[in-house]
């Protein structure tokens, strides 16, 4: 990169900063401000939160989400493989099978570790 | 297999590594068999001494060069062949004998003094002997450094495990001080290896010294290691602590041999590897040496702890050695080498003597004694001889060494001034003052302390411990010729190379 190009990068960087900053600044000066309690609320519409928002959420949701996420992403990798299936050499087919087998192993593991079972809480449920 | 046989049958390897046999034997013994362990250690060190006498028998005093050289490639690292070079010449033969003699004596002195963990004590002691002998015989810088640094470990344990109340402080101070100097030397050694492509001292000498200002830096790096070990003023402050806290045998070896490793290092490496720098710095070294002589003597005087007194007197005596070495005259250097031996004998004996009374009274405070002459006549006589030898009375060994050193310093062209010898002579007088004061306080005067009245005189073991040293004091004092004959050709050879 020569000097001009560096300069170009600098200008680009500057523009990138100014562009999002400008509307905010303009809005600050031009926008009318007439605050009232409803406007200052967390949401301008909908219901007010009731009780403390620090409610313990069942940890199994996270576990489910994680397992789902993993398999979801891994399946994306299989898509190009499936599309190009009839052009692949034998080795790639084998590789794909291997990949599916590993996913399967992971699924079996998760299943056996009871990550896929839904448990009813033993604690009394939180009542608001 | 034949390679191993060839290795161990070489006399220099045998004398260096024979203590390892004792170490292995002691390791296999149960720790409760303390007497047996003591005998094994003593026997091992005595056999080592006999082997070193054999080395003396094979040694040709007329030959100025290195003898009994054992030179094999050890291993190769990225273009460097590190050699295993051992050899002996007139500069080191006496120190070798001193080491192998003092070790059994020191072990004998621990017979009743060391009651705790005898097994470990003897193992560390024999390991220490391997390191010390190796330092005096190794002629490859890499090998030398391994032995040099290795001596730190057993000595650290000896001070730290069997020492006095402040032993841990003294042990770590000893280790850190000495290491501080030697790591600078390590860098200098690596530099030399990069420059010459070898660590073997004979090969390096054959290629000639490094030219230019680098030589002066290298000299200083080596000098840092050795000056701390000697110890030269103002780097001496570890010594009183180490001496006071170390067990008797440790002090004997520390004063007798370990300090000599420093002066020997100057003699063997600094003078021949960096001759220009050595001559350039000689007056400065001599100045520090003279300061050490006077300072050590003055500080000795008011000490109440006998061990501390002897420790500071070592600073003074080693100052003489340094002055003799850097006079660059035959008398000076020969006197210095002899003075190294003398100091080993006299100060070693002094520490033994202190240890004997400490074992009886568990104090070393000068004021706790007085009039011991009456209850311990044998002890008093032997102590008198030792004290006189240490202060340099004519007819005993100390005189021969110091006299030669003073003569050498007077006639030195490198130093170029009489003042060094003049001030050093002051040290001789001061030595008489503090030694005789100490003797008077302990042995003369009224026997007025109740605890001292029933003290036992020396037993046969203690007399045997001291006797070889007393004999040597008279021998060197009255007939030093054979000792000079051993070193003379080598010293001439060295001076020729350095002064040319």
């Amino acid at each position: 990169m020569n000097g001009t190009q560096w300069a170009f990068l600098g200008v680009y960087f500057l523009l990138a900063l100014i562009f999002p900053a400008l509307p905010i600044v303009i809005a600050h000066f031009l926008g009318p401000r007439r605050p009232n309690p409803i406007k200052d609320d967390v949401y301008e519409c909908g219901l007010k939160t009731y009780g403390s928002p620090w409610v313990p959420i069942k940890v199994q949701y996270y576990l489910f989400a994680l397992v789902f996420l993993i398999f979801d992403v891994e399946l994306v990798f299989l898509y190009p493989w499936a599309v190009a299936y009839d052009m692949l050499p034998m080795f790639a087919v084998f590789e794909g099978i291997l990949f599916i087998l590993m996913l399967g192993a992971a699924l079996v593991y998760a299943w056996k570790r009871e990550a896929l079972d839904w448990y009813e809480p033993t604690m009394p449920e939180f009542r608001s | 297999m034949s390679g191993i046989l060839e290795f161990v049958t070489h006399p220099l390897n045998a004398v260096t590594f024979f203590p390892l046999v004792g170490v292995v034997a002691i390791l296999l013994l149960a720790r409760e068999k303390e007497t047996l362990i003591r005998w094994v250690a003593l026997g091992t060190s005595l056999i080592t001494f006999v082997i070193s006498l054999g080395v003396l028998g094979l040694f040709n005093p007329q030959d100025p060069g290195l003898q009994l050289v054992y030179d094999r490639p050890w291993f190769t690292v990225a273009g460097w062949t590190i050699r295993y070079v051992m050899g002996v010449d007139g500069l080191s033969i006496l120190l070798l004998l001193l080491t192998t003699l003092l070790t059994p004596i020191a072990i004998l002195s621990t017979w009743t003094a060391i009651q705790e963990r005898v097994k470990e004590f003897m193992i560390f002691f024999l390991l220490l002997e391997i390191g010390m002998v190796g330092v005096f015989l190794a002629l490859d810088l890499f090998l030398f450094y391994i032995f040099w640094e290795f001596t730190l470990v057993p000595m650290y344990f000896l001070i730290g495990m069997w020492g006095g109340p402040r032993r841990m402080y003294a042990a770590i101070k000893f280790f850190l001080y000495t290491m501080a100097g030697s790591i600078l030397m390590l860098l200098a050694i690596v530099w030399l290896g990069l420059h010459y492509g070898t660590f073997s001292v004979p090969d390096i000498l054959a290629q000639g010294p490094v030219m230019g200002p680098v030589q002066y830096w290298l000299f200083l790096a080596f000098a840092a290691a050795f000056a701390i070990k000697v110890p030269m003023w103002p780097l001496h402050s570890w010594l009183p602590d180490a001496h006071v806290e170390a067990p008797t045998a440790g002090s004997v070896i520390l004063a007798g041999v370990l300090l000599k490793m420093g002066t020997y290092g100057f003699l063997r490496f600094n003078m021949s590897l960096f001759p220009d720098a050595a001559k350039y710095y000689a007056p400065w070294v001599a100045l520090l040496a003279v300061i050490g002589i006077v300072y050590g003597a003055i500080v000795s005087f008011p000490q109440r702890d006998v061990k501390k007194l002897v420790a500071y007197s070592s600073v003074s005596h080693l100052g003489f050695v340094m002055l003799g070495l850097f006079a660059f005259t035959p008398q000076g250097i020969e006197g210095a080498i002899l003075q190294m031996i003398n100091h080993g004998i006299s100060t070693g004996a002094l520490f033994l003597i202190v240890g004997m009374i400490y074992e009886r009274r568990h104090t070393r405070d000068l004021d706790a004694f007085g009039g011991l002459w009456k209850v311990m006549p044998v002890y008093a006589v032997l102590s008198l001889i030792t004290a006189l030898s240490s202060m340099g009375l004519p007819g005993l060994n100390g005189f021969v060494g110091e006299f030669n050193i003073l003569l050498g310093a007077l006639g030195s062209r490198v130093l170029g001034s009489y003042w060094f010898a003049g001030f050093a002579a002051l040290g001789v007088i001061l030595a008489a003052v503090y030694m005789l004061t100490m003797y008077q306080k302990v042995f003369l005067g009224p026997l007025d302390k109740e605890e001292n009245k029933c003290l036992q005189d020396l037993n046969w073991r203690e007399v045997v411990t001291l006797l070889p040293l007393i004999v040597l004091m008279f021998w060197i004092g009255l007939y030093p010729k054979p000792f000079f004959a051993l070193m003379h050709p080598a010293v001439e050879h060295l001076l020729q190379a350095v002064l040319k």
């Binding site: 192993a105 570790r113 | 690292v77 290491m179 690596v190 530099w191």
Partner: protein
Amino acid sequence: MTVPVTWQDVAALLPEFFLVVWASALLLLDVFWIREKRTTAWLSALGFVVALVLAVGQMGRAPLLAFRGMVIADAFSVFLVALFALSGLVGILLAQDYLARNGIERGEFYVLLMFSVVGMMLMARVADLVMIFLALELFSLPLYVMTGFARPRADSEEAALKYFLLGAFASGFMAFGIALVYGATSTTSLPHMVDVIQAGEADLALLTAGAALVLTGLGFKIATVPFHMWTPDVYHGAPSPVSGFMAATAKMAGFAALLRLFVLVFPVVADLTPVLWALAALSMVLGNVAAIAQRNIKRLLAYSSIAHAGYMLSAAVAFADPHLGPQAVAAILFYLVAYVLATFGAWGVVILLERRIGQEGLLLEDYAGLSRQYPGLAAAMAVFMLSFIGVPPTLGFFGKFYLFRVVLDAGFVGLALIGVLTSLVSAYYYLRVVMLMYMKPGEPIVRREPRVQATVLAAAALTLFLGLTAASSLYAWATEAILRFG
């Protein structure tokens, strides 16, 4: 389709393939059939033995680029792969009893350890920028989990979270650096990159920036100052076997990639030499000085590991010198062996003395009097400490000797001076451990766990005797482990 992938490619990665299959199978076996967790431990140890044999079998082969230039099996990688397999084995030996006695033994631990080792092996094999990132993540993610394995102990979880967050942050730097390097050379393949750089077609400014960011990412993994903040907390909070395993192997893996990148690909960015110089000097100084103040042995070892990263990095400063590069690699590999041996040994002793997980038996004072009741163990620990200081005749001395040789040869006298002076500082705190064991009375309580004890004693024996007997062959081996691309 360019080059077809064949069985030859699989052969190039045989130890890794074997370990992945073995670990996956073990994962299922563990949940379905294995009752005793100890069986899982033994089976995974067996897996490492086989991997070690496979790695040794790869020795002496010609360098081979595999999987379309993604990985390479050269002497350097084979050396490290063998070392990683051995480390994995040691890791299991150290961990099994500890996990069992603290009630946190789960089969997944061993499987995670195996996956982590595979990632480290791949770090040694990388021939493509993308591969570096994948390998880095593969070895880091299991380590995050293993760090938190003492759940629900708060300090273990805290350590895991801290390690994970900072690790993810470092990965970000790494990814950005890789992107910049790609931008500068328009290739991710390292062999191509060498060609592009030699042809003068690379954008040097961009490449330097990229290399600096990659260095940041790797510097985090090898724990150099100033990317070291996590180290004491993580080593302290993690279960001790995990800390020991991490201290030894994660550093090796980081250096594997660092050496390959800097010695082989980036010599052209000699502008970074002062940066490496500063990192090495800071690590040596800060690591050693901070270690003095530690009273907890785990934190002490953590700071000491930072300092040792600095020593190794000081030889890597010579990376830009085409003549010294290979020597720096050999010296660092040699030092790594010395460091890994002493590290595993020292952590083994920590494990034996740790009474309750993360609580008792971890202070330096708990080592008082060890030499009286357990002379062998104390002697072994003393050997490790002396090796860390670099006292002859231990292996650590030879390691430092070769390192300083490279540093001096490259003309960095100042750095060598910092190195030796900080060694002196380090002697102070290492000797304090020795002092407590040998010179203070005390009643230490030590576990009788034969596997850990055997590991400790073996490491001590190797540290003590390898230097005198086999330093040359080890070094020759390390010298032959030169990095190459075809």
